[in-house]
Subunit: 349 residues, 4 copies
């Protein structure tokens, strides 16, 4: 008998991706979907691609915390920053298990949240209870939690790439540049003129250099791993693709270590992981190789000539970087195997 | 205990798609893969996206009909036209169940094959044994067959669109124009200068107007449905997308029928189908809505002003139009439920 | 000494394209630009790509008919349907030469306008004065006119393709299907959810089958050419490309004519044209071959097997299908050579 | 009376772009085109987009140094590395003015060439005569030269971006990372499986991290500017776009300088340039804003929080990064104004 999942927020790409994933989940079934703007519609009217799938017939309701909490084993929040802290707190207070895909519960320090998000946090008391939902690093805590802050897409790609280097103390942690490139679905489905097809297609651009809101999240988690406060230079760019993040990370070795040894340390670190794939020497990640999946492909290149260690990672920003990771967290919270319903092969081409 | 599937031919997109689908199949397991050029390699060396999946470790062998026939419950042929007739015949003669993704066994009449493919058929004796593998129309025969000719991508989209109209004798069968548009994966992975990225991206072109080899296949099957010989005007175009076929079909009603009645006949015809989705009035197919799936979305529009009946269909050319349909056929041949392992939700965006 | 051009409306793609073209025009200089929403800004603030070009420094003003009419030799209207009829009439009444890129003055019959555009025409008196601005067909009238209705993009591609066939009475004029495909810039720059990058990229869809507003415009002009009222089946689709229209037109020959003769008639008809290129047998149009130019590439294929005559045309919807054609009309109205400033080579890839 | 230009090599994208540019050049006319493989064809048969343009009728000849040298005022070499050194030397010896678009004459030191290109240079004696053809830096020497080595696309974007910082001694020259992203036309038109449409579309990948052949070229020229030997970390990526390079360059200030002062120094440095556009604070380059042009858009961002100076530049790799720059060099060599025939406005969208 499948567990029941609820979804609040259905107009964005992360909501769409959650429904896609849950449509094939063997033990977690979408049983309720709430949306302020579309209450009364069937889900397949909002998402025409769902026609013919069982979940397509679900009738959207107005969000109601107590009934959702009563009816669902776990609830996914796919609503904007700022809204999520209210809805998430109401659901948490009503006793629900909550996976929040927004940024509202990711930062430990409410003042850092305010500084980067220009919003006062209405429920700072919950920040200590929320667990940062990166399954590879925090599975035990996630299992025990009722409030999981699902990581951002860029932080997921960045942290998984840097973790082996920090854990084995290979790099100069004060010298990290992350040059990240994301597909357009990362910008969400809001109506922005510069996200129209003709503004993105056949072009490429950076944005918010040094100012993206995922920066403090990356720094918070890397600092925990490094055991000291880190500052990173994080710089995003917009790719004319639907899905995919590729991060090229520039750092330096603390001391000379042979490429083979670095490669071996990366491979050992992720040897037990179902999803992080350390590529063999000579291979580099491509976003298409992880399309639609939970995989994070990682390569490490020691460029001794230029005295740099380059780490490259690629994920699907919507699956691994958002909704798939949310389902992994829900699996853990509900006592299911973490990879349940998440063993997708990449869709190529 | 899963049945064993073999694959001959791994360098093309249909081979890649077969492996993607079989990687998630609950009861059919890829157990052998053969390739003339890559024997000795592991599958994940040819397809880097397979790393971390069980099938990635399969070692490619040189094709050998008798051992494949002995070891596999069903064998997929993803080799070029002309090669398939030899390999397919050898496997068939060795007692295997064969699903051939090439065109070699699709046409009943060897002289029609020769006329369009400029090749003499080496095994015309097998044409009568081969079953045209469109599950919606031919499931009983497919179940009994050991040699299934997997339909072409354009014919799949065209026949499923026109079937309700022909079955209910709605249209003037001598007046059918199919304007079809396909993504670039339909051209296969051969090295053609005009298939380089910069020759296709941000452009659009027709090709082989009135001369595409899928024409006689479409005519053969539509003629069977209509009960008389039909000629269609079939005209393909190349889309700058990876996957997807959309066919816009122009015909005329035999006599005036209200739009609602036509809609109802289309819906009734496909009411029992797991995969053909007749869209409600006002909705039109989009290739993204079927991406990565077995769905065929169909809409019918009666334009009384211009005296045309317009039928639109969309499929994923690699999944529904090739490898997914091949797996459906294999399911039927092996006594499995036809939709086993094929219940994908579309990947959007 | 260059003539002075004015522009009303700068937020859309046709405005952008006008400025691009005028930036290189030897005898027509952009001297004034008006925009309700951006008055006071410099043009390069609205269009960052203009920095470093002389026109980038033009300061936008609020639209004022009398001062624009006084200061400009010709004025381009790149404002929405409905607005253009008011602004265009005011400029015309003030004595200006006007090239209107909207649909407001294209249809001779105000009731047809109302039927398709769901708007009552406020200045039907001007419809008889307006000239349909297709230079190949109407150059003499354009030269004498002060109000030119610049053709729609789809009609431009359709009429130029069909003109030789109608002029030489080759086809059955009651049997014309136009299957047209347009790049996304044809939809303009308005904020529509289904025009976001992720809704268009790697997908393809038809829209408004049999109901597009360019239908009566095509029928009006083809009827004039045929000498009798025609109805066409016009069906547009959205391509995931920035620019480009390709129309595949299906009709039938009145009587059998050899392919060579048809080819010769098409070539003769367009022999004197600087822009219509009839391709040699075996070649088919591609949108990239006309990118950024005034060219209209045309191919004609007689498919005797299926009893169809297929005519294919390709244009750049923004240049030939809108702003470039508008400049050609302005050239004619101002007594300049029609191709002045318009001899672009295509940008490939 | 126009000067006569010759072209050797017509099968690649740089050859196509040269012809596009020369088609609109007021004082330099393509008068001869040579190609080993296509001798006897008309240019428009190789490049269908040229139909209807005067140069389309040029008949290709087999390359012959003495006749080309005799008939042309300047000759462009658009042939592969290794071939160019032979052909270029022959033309130079025959007295011609040569602009070589390959890498063969860019590196001063033949041993560096051999180390990176794995080829022994057959004419090292000419390296001292060749001038590195970056017009902004070397115009006087280019004017006097008969052999100009046209810069690589990545070096053009990198050097123009870093020049103001090095000239004003703002940065730590031992700490430069260039993360560069290029459209697919940069890979040329050779038939590589991984350049097929379906291998590039909707994906993104790095390649040759720390090992790209443009690295020594960048280092050579930056070292000249810095007055000491520099090593840079240069890392290219492949974008799913036709044209465009965007380089994101990470370095550090030598000492604290206010952002306004850095901005002012960049603006002053490029104040006289017709093509380098230093963007105002808050604006960042996009490849579309330079499409089809000679512009190099540059932005500089001082991220004091992360202690980085970030410089971003964007060019069109085919125009500014290859053929347009070659024409600028030819203009200088022939005594023409450098921007003659090169004042393109960008093509957007």
């Amino acid at each position: 008998m499948a567990l029941r999942a609820g979804l609040v927020g259905v107009t964005g790409y992360t909501g769409m991706e959650l429904v896609r994933i849950l449509a094939g989940h063997p033990s977690l079934r979408l049983s309720a979907a709430a949306s302020r703007g579309n209450a009364g519609s069937r889900l397949e009217e909002v998402y025409p691609f769902l026609r013919g799938l069982p979940c397509g017939g679900i009738v959207l309701t107005a969000p109601d915390a107590s009934s959702l909490a009563a009816e669902c084993d776990v609830i996914f929040l796919a609503v904007p920053h700022g809204v999520a802290m209210e809805t998430g707190a109401a659901l948490y207070d009503a006793g629900a298990r909550v996976v929040d895909l927004s940024a509202d519960f990711r930062l430990r320090d409410a003042s850092v949240f305010t500084a980067w998000y220009k919003t006062v946090h209405s429920r700072p008391d919950l920040l200590a209870s929320a667990v940062y939902g990166l399954p590879e690093l925090n599975a035990p805590a996630i299992r025990e939690s009722r409030l999981v802050a699902n990581p951002g897409c860029y932080p997921t790609a960045s942290i998984l790439a840097l973790y082996p280097a920090l854990r084995h103390d290979l790099i100069r942690a004060d010298d990290i540049v992350i040059d990240a490139k994301s597909g357009a679905s990362g910008a969400g489905r809001a109506l922005e003129p510069n996200m129209l097809f003709c503004e993105v297609q056949d072009s490429f651009r950076p944005y918010k250099l040094g100012q993206h809101r995922h920066t403090p999240e990356i720094e918070q988690e890397l600092s925990l791993l490094a055991g000291k406060a880190l500052t990173v230079s994080f710089n995003p760019h917009l790719l004319p693709v639907n899905r995919g993040i590729l991060a090229t990370i520039y750092t330096r070795l603390k001391k000379s270590v042979p490429q083979e040894e670095i490669q071996a340390l990366f491979e050992q670190t992720w040897a037990g992981s179902p999803w992080v794939r350390v590529l063999p020497p000579g291979r580099l990640p491509e976003t298409r190789n992880v399309r639609g999946t939970m995989f994070c492909d990682v390569a490490v290149v020691a460029d001794t000539r230029a005295d740099r260690l380059i780490i490259v990672s690629a994920i699907d920003n919507l699956c691994r970087g958002a909704s798939g990771q949310a389902v992994a967290n829900a699996n853990l919270m509900c006592g299911l195997p973490p990879a349940d319903g998440l063993s997708f092969a990449p869709l190529l081409p």
